[in-house]
Point group: C2
Chain length 171, copies 2
């Protein structure tokens, strides 16, 4: 069986991602509610991690390393195991989305409702990432999953290329 970590690796529990994506930005207490509803516990560390995503621009992606560093910078001591566990839980709960930007590590960003999903244009040379939206994408994604009888969780469109500045460097 596949090992799609962020979807199914939160200890041993098996559970579906909540289809009604909670919008955390409103209520300060929402994280606790969402966690408890599924038997997870609210902790300071989880709140701090989520705060990072909420205080960053929407669609900003972070990896475990960056989260660790940013929390250190603001005086919070946290272990990598806690970070990874928190990320998995929050992906499972539909609060975060895991991104595969082909850099040998995983990135996470605040999950956005389906119809507002954005996609990524990656420079394979310098790693610069631009975001874009396109309704056609979501359209195709839901058509495809429907036509195969899949229940849709999310979709990612990633375009790889070389950005203008790297083009000049390389020429």
């Amino acid at each position: 069986m596949a090992n799609l970590t962020a979807f199914f690796n939160c200890d041993d529990r098996t559970m579906e991602q909540d289809p009604a994506l909670p919008s955390l930005n409103q209520e300060p207490e929402l994280l606790k509610t969402v966690l408890n509803k599924e038997g997870f516990r609210f902790t300071n560390q989880r709140q701090k991690i989520l705060d990072l995503f909420q205080s960053a621009a929407l669609g900003h992606h972070l990896n475990a390393e960056e989260i660790h560093q940013q929390l250190l910078d603001q005086g919070e001591k946290i272990s990598f195991s806690t970070i990874y566990r928190a990320l998995h839980v929050m992906v499972r709960l539909g609060l975060l989305q895991e991104l595969e930007l082909a850099e040998g590590r995983k990135y996470y960003e605040l999950n956005t409702p389906f119809m507002n999903q954005h996609h990524h244009l990656v420079c394979v040379h310098c790693g610069d990432v631009k975001e874009f939206e396109d309704a056609k994408m979501t359209q195709v994604g839901s058509n495809e999953s429907a036509s195969h009888g899949f229940s849709l969780l999310n979709c990612q469109f990633t375009v790889y290329g070389i950005c203008p500045s790297c083009q000049s460097l390389l020429s």
Copy 2:
């Protein structure tokens, strides 16, 4: 700087992917030609690896582990380092494409000309992968990269969901 391995990790040389994708299925000697043109050497191991992809259904993806096992099964002894090096070279030369199917490892498949690119619908529970094509995808990909001044290398649309049989298992 980013570390997009398959694009830029072939020892130390820096070089662009050949925009004219060679169609290997015709000429038996083409691999040697393509390799030598860029200063790489033709080896038995590289041929054997490429053969695996060519004898499989088009669009079939393999990871390093599977390649290693399949070659063992057919009596070929080959090391993982050789496999990984060969895969990188062939991606660089545009013979293979690297796929991010979110399973903690990389998959490869024969590269196909842009307009025939196919995309993936992945069951996050059992790992089953369905392929599909959609011209809109390529369209959007080239529009986006063009509008940001990127030179386009490739694009991947990956849809995550739960397949029908896993849905019944989980309910």
